[in-house]
Homo-oligomer: 164 residues x 2
DNA sequence: TATACTGATTGTGATTTGCAACTGGTTGTG
DNA sequence: CACAACCAGTTGCAAATCACAATCAGTATA
């Protein structure tokens, strides 16, 4: 085992990889917001991440095999970040986090409708979502159901009904 | 909403409360190791937490309503830390973290048998475990099934079979 | 040529972390 | 009663990390 690790406990090792204030925010935005470029992640971030932190986290997540990076053919300087399989398998974890946060923290309604939908959908919905993420980020075929569209629709409806 | 929060997203708010390298380690040790005193948490910690960090985390977790503290009648200086309901509801989240860590990090076998059991047991086992935690940490009646004992037995067996 | 956009880096100060020593008090033992 | 062990922390300090704002050089667009 790598001496750099504090222990071989799965909870500890998960914490060592993702236990900071920004890593899962970045993954959340790539996953649920489909943000694939540095600037998209930087400017559309609800929590306004700093650019050096974002650069550092992207580098670390790529190094740890959670994201992967490729050139954008439309622009020689642009990079496209995608979820790797380990990050896709974080769906149940993020669903659990959303469910817990919805009960025990002061969430806003618009930002929690997706968490609610994902919680109620259960493992069946998570599997469908993961299949879709494999299509969007890896080379898997498109699944019949688009959980992404369902989540977006629910979010947009919540935003709309909040305005009017 | 409190202006101290970065956003009203449930994932973000969960991260603000628990997204550091130690908070969930402390909760894990109270929950799965049934460690209730400061020194138990300090000395038996697999990851060797520093005493000032432990003191800070315990204070924060109590302030945030995840743990609660009472005097130990057997010793005027001893304090007993217990899980509050929000922390008990972290069981599915910790199960998901364990399951992910088991697949994507270099876990040790002894320390991952509990995670495996908890993953395979599914929501039914998590509910039974939460009922038992409510008995151990709150004033709920004792449930018929002891998931705690099942987890400990599996862990001890793994340790045994590793030695011999 | 001017403007905006690309993924970052740099500099600075504030905060958090890790480590070791220490504190004031309590309890059990000879 | 003396003394060691134990109790929950606190203190001091160096190192690492974080947050914020300004900046960078190389594209693309007008």
């Amino acid at each position: 085992m790598d001496a750099a690790h504090r222990s071989g406990c799965p909870i500890n090792l998960t914490l060592e990889m993702l236990g900071d204030r920004w890593s899962l925010i970045v993954i959340r935005d790539v996953m649920f917001g489909n943000r694939r470029h540095f600037r998209e992640l930087l400017n559309n971030s609800e929590e306004s991440i700093a650019s050096n932190i974002l650069a550092d986290r992207l580098k670390r997540l790529v190094a740890n095999g959670l994201l992967w990076k490729r050139d954008d053919p439309s622009h020689s300087q642009k990079a496209i970040y995608s979820l790797a399989e380990p990050a896709i398998q974080l769906v149940p974890l993020l669903a659990a986090m959303g469910a817990w946060g919805r009960r025990h923290t002061p969430v806003s309604r618009e930002l929690s409708v997706r968490a609610e939908l994902l919680e109620n959908g259960g493992p069946q919905m998570w599997d469908a979502f993961m299949a879709e993420l494999r299509h969007l980020h890896l080379d898997a075929p498109a699944p019949a159901r688009s959980v992404f569209a369902e989540l977006q629709a629910a979010y947009l409806e919540a935003v709309q009904s909040g305005i009017e």
